[in-house]
Symmetry: C2
Subunit: 237 residues, 2 copies
């Protein structure tokens, strides 16, 4: 067990703005990201089996493998900090599992939509964190993000567009599902942020009010970006 966790176990919370507080913040952040990626890998590869074609199965499988690669890179960073990756992930297991249990896709299209919506929210969330991190961690987080035509977001977007074109009635169902997903995703993230030490960035000593304001701002941004993405698919957010 790392020193870090030993400190938590004895109830000695690190003082905000200190190296210990940053270490705890980073360990929490990488822990929740790692567990999120591992879970996304498992859920996505399970759902892949219900794809309408072998081509879709292979494509969704490839996206799942990418999540696993991200998981391994994030846990490697934790281990290099001397933090046990399982200890870092454990506090977030329940809330991430609850999110997945509350958003079980009823079919293949809902599954595509789920990964499209949640991957994009993760990317926005990661992008917002950049300024709080040391350069090495910032670079790692940036590299997890979606980019290029082979990127999960782009692959999922194109496939969803095709499906919506083939079946116009799908639009209202997926619009409803998208609203449900974004609600659940933001609720889960809000819970994580408020329960853990996630406010404390590298040098940040924020008052409760400042912190709450920043979080409100972040969540409105996430919601606006989600609406824009739904519009691009021709769906009402």
């Amino acid at each position: 067990m790392s020193e870090n966790n030993a400190a938590s176990a004895t109830g000695q919370a690190p003082v905000p703005g200190t190296p210990d507080a940053y270490r705890q913040f980073l360990s929490d952040l990488l822990g929740v990201i790692a567990y999120g990626e591992l879970s996304a890998f498992e859920r996505m590869s399970s759902d892949a089996r219900f794809s309408p074609s072998l081509r879709d199965r292979a494509a969704l499988g490839r996206l799942a493998v990418r999540e696993y690669d991200n998981f391994e890179r994030v846990t490697a960073r934790l281990e290099s900090m001397g933090v046990n990756a399982e200890d870092a992930m454990a506090p977030f297991q329940q809330s991430v599992d609850a999110f997945h249990d509350r958003t079980r896709p009823a079919d293949w299209h809902e599954s595509l939509m789920k990964f499209y919506v949640t991957d994009a929210i993760s990317d926005d969330f990661y992008a917002a964190l950049g300024s709080l991190l040391d350069p090495e961690s910032a670079e790692l987080i940036a590299s997890l993000q979606d980019a290029g035509s082979e990127a999960p977001g782009e692959v999922l977007f194109v496939r969803l567009q095709e499906s919506l074109k083939d079946d116009p009635r799908l639009a209202s169902r997926l619009a409803l599902w998208g609203r449900r997903l974004v609600g659940e995703a933001l609720t889960q993230r809000q819970r994580v942020v408020s329960e853990r030490s996630l406010p404390q960035g590298r040098d940040a000593v924020l008052s409760r009010e400042e912190f709450d304001a920043r979080i409100r701002e972040l969540f409105s941004q996430l919601t606006r970006n989600h609406s824009r993405r739904m519009s691009l698919l021709g769906l009402t957010a």
Copy 2:
């Protein structure tokens, strides 16, 4: 659609021992391997979620990702032959799916055992095919096989050993499960071999009798190897 499949569609079976027959043989072989790897990836990563610890989840996930990498390498070889990978896999989908449906693990230990048994049988099966293949294909097939301490077979063996040590009653249940698995695995492979053109290797023109004798020999070998592996775990085959 490839020329190859166009020929099958018009009912013109290739003549044994000709380049067309070899091409059909290789397309079938790579097709069944590719579909087997894709299915193993999906099943293994789904089962990973039920692992007793995050460490086990990560380890099983890593093995699943390896299956996906194999899948991509085999389909790349099919595409480089001008064969559509989906067309090559399609004939084997039903029998591989039936195998998995008939061998649904009841828990984590049965899941470990399933991948341990079936991966090993695949490796034996691949090894037996080497002499029938052109050098490039032989090299590809050899590279899919289990080797080293990071190899799936070794990882699964060590984890099964640990579990059996912790819970001696598990042995009789897993021994029974092992017998069921090997029976189903061999039945599925036998069905594939006898339905398709798999007897025809690079230069082989075998009579039905010669072919049947070779297959009997291969299957006894697979069964003997399985028994030896069960013994290594302290299980009665």
